[in-house]
Symmetry: C2
DNA sequence: ACTGTTCGTTTCGGAGCCGTAAGTATTCGG
DNA sequence: CCGAATACTTACGGCTCCGAAACGAACAGT
């Protein structure tokens, strides 16, 4: 059976998690979140143009987002030695941990929802 | 029974919805989302200081967020005639519609999750 | 080896949000 | 009434992000 979630429950979940995120500080934009989660949920390798295409944004947006979340230690970059024009985006321990924490937070909030 | 959502499912849901949000453009920050949903999900009346306290942010942040989402027509403000220092934040038709659309989007993505 | 293409980054001016502090209006207390 | 308290807004300087265009490096075809 599919995951059953009413519109109202959906909104409350969204609200509660965003409240948690605001409380704990350290904001990322929607784009940055989308990029981060794509890197950690979809199979590698990830490149700048691949992410740009998937999100339907320009490449500079991806470059800058990677600058930001890279500075936070959540991802790293490496030249592709096979084709040195490419940059391969790699996961990091800190990033995996942060993503895991987010998943736990959402799950916990989902568990608390009124039904 | 509670809403059952594994950490991985939670993350995929977060990812998918953020992808939708980025695609459709019109970004709001986490704070703005938290404020907007608080206004539409919790019982009125809502004031600047009430929202500031709940989100644990300063009042100017709330004022500016209201400026922004107000300019989008998603909320409106009115002086409280009983105590004219207060500003009461009111829901709008456009705002209710936008929130409803968000709820539907999240619900649809939840329904598609692998289980 | 030249020419054109691909890939990622950098640069530019502009717009938005932040935190702190000051400012305006209204109400409360003695 | 008049000073203190409350509620919200505005002002200021700083930081981040944006879109568009230009750029440098690496590759591909001929």
């Amino acid at each position: 059976m599919p995951i059953a979630l009413s519109p109202l429950q959906s909104l409350k979940l969204w609200h509660d998690v965003h409240l948690d995120l605001v409380h704990q500080g350290g904001d990322l934009s929607s784009r940055q979140i989308a990029i981060l989660l794509t890197i950690y949920l979809e199979p590698p390798p990830h490149t700048v143009r691949g992410l740009a295409r998937k999100l339907n944004v320009t490449k500079p947006v991806v470059t800058r987002a990677l600058d930001t979340i890279g500075k936070l230690g959540l991802v790293s970059r490496r030249r592709d030695e096979a084709d040195r024009r490419n940059v391969v985006i790699q996961r990091t321990v800190a990033g995996a941990l942060a993503v895991e924490r987010l998943g736990d937070m959402i799950m916990a909030r989902a568990k608390e929802l009124p039904r």
